[in-house]
Chain length 314, copies 2
């Protein structure tokens, strides 16, 4: 039987989904067909979970949290739809992507539609600062994708990749926590802590996702070797590449290009790539715990630590 906290979270996520369905409803049949499909294949709503757990601990009203969560999930979803066109991805969460199912024309338009609806929601939020923070996140998400398509396999380095992680994943978590700081009227020092908490959370989240690509993991809903199959150079690969000499790099890249997934995994393991990625992720998780303890009362802290570990350790 779920405990009270879990039950409340489940109810909250249902409310967020309902809010999203209301926001995205259209009189156009094509648009609704895609919306219905997406409503049935939602992910774990990590952004909404963060908003619920931190937001309710900070004493923010539920309606505000639902609105913020719906807007954040919609920003995330819009970028996924266009990213899947750009990455030529066929599958997401074991279902066909919008571009695979409806073609790139409708996928471009549907992404634009979601984007517009998101901004409409943001415009309706009374507090202008909230909209401003989230629009800035959307801008950085796009910059991150520009960096990623510019950095093809030859150019991508670990430093470049950390910038991509920050802009494509961490910035939105940081923006969400920034908004929670605004709503709960924190002082500037605390707002800066919340923003840093979001950046660490996003970093740990992405590194954990990078690790998950090498394992069968039904809990993440991610197909094994999905990133590798799309030719993405993630942290475990880049950290290993960095310490190779020219000839080793060429051989390793050949393995990547020929999609010899088992050999790649062995190489990374032998050279300590997974260990280093886990260490980097665990550092970020520890930062999250440290920042969290500045805001969350002691009696709730264990519960929050549990959430962080459950979410960020695949």
């Amino acid at each position: 039987m779920p405990n009270i906290e879990e039950q409340n979270l489940t109810e909250f996520l249902q409310d967020v989904k309902l809010k999203m369905a209301n926001i995205t409803f259209s009189k156009d049949a094509d648009i609704n067909e895609i919306s219905d499909f997406l409503n049935e294949s939602h992910g774990k709503f990590i952004r909404s979970q963060v908003i619920y757990l931190y937001g309710s601990n900070l004493g923010i009203k539920k309606e505000r949290l639902i609105e913020l969560a719906a807007a954040s999930e919609l920003i995330h979803l819009s970028t996924l739809i266009h990213d899947d066109i750009i990455d030529e991805a066929d599958l997401r969460r074991n279902k066909p992507t919008v571009v695979k199912k409806w073609g790139s024309k409708k996928a471009i338009l549907y992404g634009d539609y979601l984007y517009t609806k998101t901004f409409k929601t943001l415009n309706s939020i009374e507090n202008h600062e909230i909209a401003s923070v989230l629009i800035d996140c959307a801008e950085k998400l796009i910059e991150g994708e520009f960096i990623q398509i510019r950095a093809n396999n030859t150019l991508m380095t670990i430093d470049y990749y950390m910038e991509v992680i920050e802009k494509k994943t961490a910035v939105l978590f940081s923006g969400i926590l920034h908004c929670l700081g605004i709503y709960s009227k924190q002082n500037q020092e605390n707002i800066d802590y919340l923003k840093d908490l979001g950046l660490s959370f996003g970093k740990a989240f992405q590194l954990n996702d990078d690790l998950a690509d090498f394992n069968d993991s039904s809990s993440t809903g991610k197909a094994k070797f999905k990133d590798l199959d799309e030719g993405k150079l993630t942290f475990p690969i880049l950290i290993v590449l960095k310490e190779m000499n020219q000839q080793e790099q060429t051989e390793f890249k050949d393995q990547i290009n020929s999609k010899d997934f088992i050999a790649i995994k062995e190489q990374i393991n032998e050279r300590g790539g997974f260990k280093k990625t886990r260490a980097e992720r665990d550092d970020a998780i520890n930062n999250c715990i440290e920042y969290t303890s500045k805001f969350i009362k002691l009696d709730k802290l264990d519960n929050m630590k549990k959430f962080l570990r459950n979410t960020l350790l695949a």
Copy 2:
């Protein structure tokens, strides 16, 4: 030598371009490269011209008009960039399209970037109603494009096409004039007239553009037979198709598919298609003049009529 009015308009358009360049500036080199290219190949800024001429006659402050014009041009520009991907268009205003020059990945992202910057501008406008009106326009623009890709050549009818014209062209003009009504504090009746004026303006504008496709016209900057080449069924074609029997329709569509432009033009001419399109356009222009006379003082009316005729009669 230009007269004072023309000089003021030219200055205003320069201010709008400067505002747009400031809004779209990015630290990302790829983004700026595309922005610079677009800044050098702007169209005639018809939306800004409408805003300047009607807005200044309604006594609205210049800064507000510049901001409104920049936001409207950016909404228009964002949709053009994604539409050109969807239409697989190679040329716009005799220059390569963004998708042709930079590929679809960067074109999708750049469109998203412009969209985000546009909403950022809208969010910074103090009057929430203005942002709300323009976001609704953006939503309808997307719905219009959905209708257009759904209605492939077999399905497109004149009624369907009028809905596309309304959503893809007229709604933004209507929204612009609605905003001018809000800024100049008009009563509801007058705001409704202004919205109708925008719808008529947009209709006349698009029908005139449809006619221009069949003529060499350096003034519109549109390549001859561009619509036909992209397989678009416009008003002159649809009005002729409507009155044909099944066999004639099949033969006419074969001519369209084989891109026999001269034969198509002859058919339309013989069957009165151009005449009917001109009549429909001229009706819309007369509506514009009638609505305009409700707002614009008699001594300025001749000037406005001149603008309407210059803009809507190619």
